[in-house]
Structure formats: structure tokens, C-alpha cells
């Protein structure tokens, strides 16, 4: 978009670029705004304006240079709505011309709709940085309204929509619905699940400061209520419970009620969150127990995520380091990893170390029992470790 090769840009162009940057920085409208894109116009766009409903081609009408056009692809309800805005930078006080990938939408809009629902067109203040962003937001709201009006022709979908709102106790801003036209693409909806991370210890999600959004996309097939689900999770949520594609969604046998299914998915996600938090709390308790017993021998421990503790021990005047590491599957599926490491011998470029792999382990043990067991394992192995560290160096 920005013409970086030209030595000078007019103030109008500078303002235009600021307005585009504003959108990129502050986000696009819509539930799946992370996947929205904004680019300059390309030749392929002329396709929209060249076909009418009866399929006849018309000549594309394009005025101004290509860089005065903006293509904004906004994900909506599992499909995409592309908005094309054509600016007249020689007359910056003029609002842009608009066209949409959903050609029925444009034909459904009345002047009254535009006046009432897209007020930025009438009050086009080209000197405001957020004016294009406001326009996009208003257009998307209008599109949403258009889709909801289409729902009146589809009783089943209307019922699903209302049920979702009521049962999940969410607002209209949390659902996007795209109702199919006759013979066109399938209906789909996108719902923002009310999955809260507010009780999650911040350290588990702070590495990713974005929003914590969980979206369930549902695409309907045929007329018998059969649907295909897909999960989208924001990076902050994925950091906590794993990638969306690693979470196995429940199967959808014929006759599944959408409402029940969505509730099951929400429960699945809530359970995952609970488990992640529980793992963290268990690690914390384990480390606390280690410190309780061996605080006078502590070298260092992970005081944020409680993944690791390093101790220094002396057994019959033989000093050595002990690393105790808690993996992501601790405690249920993974024992603490115990590694002894030498203070005296290299092998050759690193201190000699040995992982103690043969240990009894019961995930049902209390932290106290686990730590007691670790002490026994170390005592049982230290002599062999001492011998092999001397031999190997």
C-alpha cells in the first residue's frame, strides 16, 4: 500500500496510511479478527463488479490509481466477507465507494440503512485516524443484521441461534451467523464460548498477552441438522491447554442437538483448564515439599512455573548436585526426573551426570511421599554414581 519508493508523500497520503495502520494496530472487527487481512486492490477484484445476478458480464468501473483501493478480508461465521473500499484521494473529503464479496448484501442495503447504521459515511472526517476502522465496524454490524434478518426464513437455524444465546448466557456480539442463500454455500455460525481464564495463575498465560478467546465454528450440511464443528483458540488459551488441533472434539453422530454439543465442548475446555491449573498447583506443592525437607541444601528452583529444583547433597563427604525436573505430564503420567551431576568430574566437556531412571512411582502419592521416595532413590544410587563419575572422567 505505502509507496515507499516515492520521495515525498502528500499529507493526504500520509493520513491515509495512518488510517490503515490504525486498523492493523487496533484490530479488525469480528470475532475472528486475528485472521483478518488488509491489502491493496488487485486485478482479481474486478470479478465482483463484472457479474450481475443474471450472470452477464459488465465492464468494471475503476477510477483512481490501484493504491487508493483497500481490500479487507474479514472472517465471518466461518466464511470470509471481503470488503472493497475505493478512495478518491484527490477528494479526500469523499467517503469511499464500497463493494462486497457477498453481492446480495449490497443489494439488500437501503439508503436508510446506510444513514442510520453507517453514520461515518455521512460524517466522513478524513482527518481522523480511526475513520476507516469505524466504517469497517459499522459495515460489519450491518452485515450481521442482514444475516439475522435472513434467519427468519430458516426456523431451525433461528431456533439454534436463540438457544445458544439463552443457554450459554452470551450476547449477540458473541455469535456470528451466516445463513445460506438458496443453493449457495452452507450456513455456518461462529460462537465465542464463555471460557473464563480469570482463575488461572497469570504466570501460566502471561507469555502470550493477547485475548483469551475460544471460538467454535459450526458448518451445517444439508437440511437435517447435521453439522461439522471446528475449534479456534487464541494463542493465550493454547498456551494453557494445548493447540486447538490437538484437542479431540467429540464426534457428531446424526441427530446430535447443537445446543448439547456446544455445551459438551465448553465442558471439555473447562476441564482442560482445570487440569492445567491443577498440574501447576501440584508442581507448586511438590517444590514446596522439597524446600521444606531440603531448604538448607537448595541451589536454585523455578519460582514461577515450579518446573525444576536443584539441590546440593553430601553423602559420606561426597558432594553432588541433584536436579529434579517436573515435565508437562507430571504427576499423572510422568514421574519427577532425577539427575545427579558431578562437582568434580567432566565427561569431557560437561560435568558428568546420570539420570536415575529406575524408580518406583505412584501418581497418587502425596508430595511428601514423592519427596521421601526421591530421597531413597538418590541414596540407593549415589555410590554407583560416585564410582562411575571417577571412571568416566
Amino acid at each position: 500500500m505505502e509507496d515507499k519508493s516515492s520521495p515525498e508523500r502528500s499529507p493526504v497520503m500520509e493520513q491515509f496510511i495512518r488510517q490503515v495502520d490504525y486498523i492493523k494496530l487496533n484490530g479488525f472487527p469480528g470475532l475472528c479478527s486475528d485472521l483478518a487481512e488488509i491489502t491493496g486492490a488487485t486485478e482479481s477484484l474486478t470479478v465482483w463488479n463484472t457479474r450481475q445476478d443474471n450472470g452477464e458480464r459488465v465492464e468494471p468501473i475503476r477510477e483512481g490509481k490501484p493504491r487508493d483501493e483497500l481490500l479487507i478480508k474479514v472472517p465471518f461465521a466461518g466464511t470470509n466477507l471481503t470488503i472493497r473500499l475505493l478512495f478518491y484521494l484527490q477528494e479526500p473529503w469523499m467517503p469511499p465507494d464500497m463493494s462486497f464479496s457477498d453481492i446480495h448484501f449490497l443489494s439488500s442495503i437501503s439508503i436508510k440503512d446506510l444513514e442510520e447504521q453507517v453514520p461515518s459515511l455521512n460524517n466522513w472526517n478524513c482527518s481522523e485516524d480511526d475513520i476507516i476502522a469505524q466504517l469497517l465496524h459499522q459495515l460489519l454490524q450491518l452485515y450481521k443484521k442482514y444475516q439475522i434478518e435472513k434467519l427468519e426464513d430458516d426456523d431451525v437455524l433461528q431456533f439454534e441461534y436463540q438457544s445458544l444465546l439463552k443457554t450459554l448466557k452470551i450476547g449477540e456480539g458473541d455469535i456470528e451467523i451466516s445463513v445460506n442463500g438458496a443453493g449457495h454455500r452452507a450456513s455456518s455460525l461462529l460462537v465465542r464460548l464463555p471460557l473464563s481464564l480469570q482463575d488461572v495463575p497469570p504466570v501460566l498465560v502471561d507469555a502470550n498477552p493477547g485475548s483469551a478467546t475460544s471460538l467454535l465454528q459450526v458448518t451445517f450440511q444439508g437440511n437435517e441438522g447435521v453439522f461439522v464443528p471446528k475449534l479456534h483458540l487464541s494463542p493465550r488459551v493454547e498456551l494453557l491447554i494445548g493447540g486447538a488441533n490437538t484437542l479431540a472434539l467429540p464426534a457428531v453422530p446424526p441427530g446430535t442437538c447443537l445446543m448439547d454439543y456446544v455445551e459438551r465442548v465448553l465442558e471439555l475446555l473447562e476441564e482442560k483448564v482445570r487440569k492445567s491449573v491443577l498440574c501447576f498447583e501440584t508442581r507448586k506443592q511438590f517444590i514446596a515439599q522439597v524446600l521444606c525437607l531440603f531448604g538448607c541444601a537448595v541451589i536454585e528452583y523455578d519460582a514461577e512455573r515450579f518446573n525444576k529444583v536443584v539441590l546440593l547433597f553430601d553423602v559420606k563427604d561426597f558432594h553432588f548436585l541433584t536436579f529434579i525436573i517436573l515435565g508437562p505430564l507430571f504427576p499423572q503420567q510422568q514421574a519427577p526426573k532425577i539427575v545427579l551431576q558431578s562437582l568434580y568430574h567432566n565427561s569431557p566437556r560437561e560435568p558428568y551426570s546420570k539420570e536415575l531412571t529406575e524408580q518406583r512411582y505412584n501418581p497418587q502419592w502425596t508430595p511428601e511421599e514423592m519427596v521421601k521416595n526421591i530421597k531413597e532413590v538418590i541414596l540407593a544410587n549415589v555410590s554407583a554414581f560416585q564410582q562411575s563419575s571417577i571412571r568416566t572422567s
Binding site: K284, I287, A288, V310, V315, Q341, L343, R349, K375
Partner: protein, 298 residues
């Protein structure tokens, strides 16, 4: 779930508790040193067992609290290696009879220290200062231990100088580092802490602040600056000043949180001390509270 919450509260209590430590009016490090020395060489014993006991009973006087959260933030460690070789300097003798110079043993022990510290957390950084006539900043902070080890390998010992000016050392350190400034250091975890480990090797030369202690005092007052000392010396006798030097080095511990360790040509003990020095200053116990013994009966 309520059991989990109770256990979590207990864990929080242990992890977040302010460590209340009792610190002697008399310097515990000195007492342990002198009582040990009187064990090794009866003629040099300056303190009697009862003096040690009296000092120990003094324990309940002063309480120290931590003033920084117990977070394992990255450490920036300044290794200060004394390369002065005095006349009459004796080597380390191992059990099989082989001998190694004091500087060689320091290099070996530091190599293992660097490798182990890096294995604990790759974020820790190391700088190298060589202490001779005046201190030289040999290598700036790096988290690659190989760079420091390589520099260490190239160091040779040098003729001992007549004095050791600690003012110059701490001036140099103050110039090279930038102490974190936290608005509320008792609560806010610092981005890093600085720790100087002074490895002093002379038995005849008393280290002194020839140009005043101003810079040193400024550094040591920061809750994010730590000083540890490892004193490697000849066997104390009437002909050397080991005890006096050790007194001075112990006196550098103004906060109560330093480790001041000493060893006399015992290679194992040298390496053990380097192990103790691996401990993170924000999380480790005070020197007095160290208990490494792992007994079967505990």
C-alpha cells in the same frame, strides 16, 4: 478440591515466607575457621572451643529478613580471579601424589562451576576480572561458559604485588554494571541480580580499601548486588597473615547474606565450595544454615 486448596495455601506459605534468620553478633564464619585451624595445627589456634560456643550462644540476637522476592531471576556473575603467586606458594597435592598449582586448581574448579551454573539456567551470565596490580575486566558478560573457560585457560599467574586495593576492584565493577532500579524491591522481582565472587589467593597481603569504601558501600547497599568470597590460602602459621586476611574478607559481608568460604590446599573442599557458590543468592539459605548432608536416618 478443598484439600487441594489447603495444600496450595500451605505451599504458598512455604514459598513466600520471609526467611527469618538469626545472625551472630560475632562472625560465625570466623569462628568456624579458627576452630578448624586449631584442629589442623594446634600452634596457630587463636580461639578456644569455649569462645566458639559463646559466640554460638549469641545467636538469638539479630534477625535478618530478605528484602527481595525469592525469584530465580538471571544472575550476572562477576568472577574475580586473583592471579598473584607469592613466594613459597605451595601446590595442591592429590591422593595419588600428583601435584597441581593453585591457579590450575582454581581454573578447574571454576570450569565446573561455570558448566554447572549454565546447566542450571542458561540465562545466567558471567564476566571475568583478573586481580593483579590493578583489576582488569578481561571478559564482559556472556551466557556462554566456553568463552570464560577459554579466557581462564590463557591466564598465567604473576608475581605477587605488595598490595591489593579493593577500592579499584569495586570502582571497576561499578563502572561495568548497571544495578536494576525497582520502585518496590521488596515485591517486584528484579530483571537480574549481580553477584561478585572474589577468589583471593594470597596469604601475605592484606586486601585493603586504599581509596575508601564509598563505591563498595553503595554497591553493597543495593538489594540486587551480592558479594561472595572464596579464600584459598596456605596453611595458617605464624609466618603468614591468613587469619588476618580472613578477618578482613569476612568483614566484607555487611548484609549477612554473603558466603565467605575458605580452603587450604584441599582440592575436594575447593570443588565443594564452588558447589556451594552455585546457589542463587535470592533463594539460598545463609551460610550458617547450610546443611547438605543426606542421611539415611533423616
Amino acid at each position: 478440591m478443598s484439600e487441594v486448596m489447603a495444600a496450595t495455601s500451605y505451599a504458598n506459605l512455604i514459598l513466600e515466607s520471609v526467611t527469618r534468620v538469626q545472625h551472630m553478633g560475632v562472625n560465625i564464619k570466623k569462628v568456624s575457621y579458627t576452630s578448624e585451624m586449631s584442629g589442623e595445627d594446634g600452634s596457630s589456634g587463636r580461639s578456644s572451643p569455649s569462645e566458639a560456643q559463646e559466640a554460638t550462644e549469641h545467636l538469638e540476637n539479630v534477625t535478618i529478613e530478605r528484602h527481595v522476592p525469592r525469584i530465580n531471576c538471571p544472575e550476572h556473575i562477576i568472577l574475580v580471579v586473583d592471579v598473584c603467586k607469592e613466594e613459597g606458594n605451595t601446590p595442591y597435592k592429590l591422593a595419588d601424589g600428583t601435584k597441581f598449582s593453585a591457579l590450575y586448581m582454581v581454573k578447574r574448579a571454576l570450569t565446573l562451576f561455570l558448566q554447572n551454573k549454565h546447566a542450571i539456567d542458561i540465562r545466567h551470565k558471567f564476566a571475568l576480572v583478573v586481580l593483579h596490580e590493578s583489576p582488569i575486566w578481561l571478559h564482559d558478560f556472556t551466557n556462554n561458559p566456553k568463552e570464560i573457560i577459554s579466557e581462564l585457560d590463557d591466564i598465567d599467574d604473576a608475581l605477587a604485588t605488595s598490595h591489593c586495593d579493593l577500592s579499584l576492584l569495586f570502582d571497576l565493577i561499578a563502572q561495568q554494571i548497571s544495578l536494576p532500579s525497582c520502585s518496590n524491591p521488596a515485591v517486584a522481582p528484579p530483571p537480574c541480580v549481580y553477584r561478585t565472587i572474589l577468589l583471593y589467593g594470597r596469604s601475605q597481603c592484606l586486601p585493603q580499601f586504599l581509596e575508601g569504601k564509598g563505591v563498595f558501600t553503595h554497591l553493597i547497599q543495593s538489594p540486587h548486588f551480592f558479594l561472595d568470597v572464596l579464600y584459598m590460602h596456605e596453611a595458617p602459621c605464624d609466618d603468614n597473615k591468613c587469619e588476618g586476611i580472613f578477618d578482613i574478607l569476612c568483614g566484607l559481608d555487611e548484609s549477612g547474606w554473603s558466603y565467605v568460604l575458605e580452603v587450604s590446599r584441599n582440592a575436594t573442599k575447593l570443588h565443594n565450595h564452588c558447589g556451594s557458590l552455585l546457589a542463587h543468592p535470592l533463594q539460598r539459605p545463609t551460610q550458617k544454615d547450610l546443611r547438605y548432608t543426606l542421611g539415611g536416618g533423616d
